[in-house]
């Protein structure tokens, strides 16, 4: 399945194998990763995954900032949006702290104009447009955190990811209610 160039294939066969981590080699060969190798790569792998989650939070914070500055939100909705943004800032700080404990370097946010472009903010014309975007992002984030849990090695990060998923699901529920979306008839709703 994996296309290994002939030179790489040769190096694997002639001793280049020592340049691969044990986990990488075993994965390349399609087997399971031995516990010792997995343990050795554990902090770095978890830090990588948490950094992707941090990038997601940076985007969420930017999205609420764009919404707040759009002039499209009523005062009541704006207040809720600012509260949700503060939750995402707490998530950001929790993730950055976890990455730091693992010896990683926390990802920084991009300029807000970059987020506006990638989220298609120019197409937002009404409060409903903004709320639909927020709902899509929050719903996706709840699923993202749940789908991340099996890949995280450390139990403390399983808990962290589950807690963040809960917050995102709460946000999605509130936004769905404001948009008069029907209550999902089938459970589980997320994951």
């Amino acid at each position: 399945m994996i296309d290994i160039p002939s030179s790489s294939r040769r190096s694997v066969l002639t001793g280049g194998v020592t340049t691969l981590s044990a986990a990488g080699l075993v994965a390349l060969l399609g087997g399971s990763v031995p516990a010792a190798a997995r343990k050795a790569d554990l902090p770095a792998q978890d830090a990588q995954l948490l950094n992707a989650a941090l990038a997601l939070e940076h985007e969420g914070i930017a999205a609420y900032q764009i919404a707040a500055q759009s002039g499209l939100l009523s005062p009541d909705v704006l207040k809720v949006g600012i509260t949700f943004q503060s939750h995402h800032k707490t998530h950001r700080d929790d993730l950055a702290a976890a990455i730091g404990r693992l010896g990683g370097v926390a990802a920084t946010s991009k300029p807000i104009a970059d987020y506006a472009a990638s989220l298609g903010a120019g197409a937002l014309k009404t409060q409903t447009d903004v709320l639909k975007l927020a709902l899509r992002l929050e719903r996706g984030a709840a699923n993202a955190y749940l789908g991340l849990i099996p890949s995280l090695q450390a139990t403390e990060f399983h808990v962290l990811s589950a807690r963040l998923a809960g917050d995102e699901a709460f946000h999605a529920a509130v936004l769905g209610n404001v948009l008069n979306e029907p209550i999902p008839q089938q459970a589980p709703i997320f994951g």
Binding site: S21, A23, A55, G147, P150
Partner: protein, 134 residues
Amino acid sequence: MARATFRAATRALTLAAAMAVSGAAFAGAGLPRGDAVRGVDLYQAKCGACHSLDSNRVGPAHRGVVGRRAGRVADFRYSKALSASHIVWTPANLDRWLRAPTVMVPGTMMGFRVSSPQERADIIAYLAQNPSRR
């Protein structure tokens, strides 16, 4: 020029093969037949927090991913592990990836897993329906 033509032809053949596999032959590979219509909603719900078809966000843009080499979207910063992986995103490889990305490519930044084989097949079928515009 000839090399560029060869590359284009190879890419077209890879994509055609990948799209064929995403249909009837997909089931032949031991994978469920994907439904691109279900895949639209699943893509939004499961992948949409980080990915879009046409924008690099937390993850790279997905248009044209089926048949593409991993780590090749312009202006997206990949992990070293994925950049060096030499993986081609065939439907079978996408299925392995979505099942457990950190097992397939240790060191990747993507940890999100889709546990349901049918949901993976539906998402892959949707992606196969959105080839590169070039």
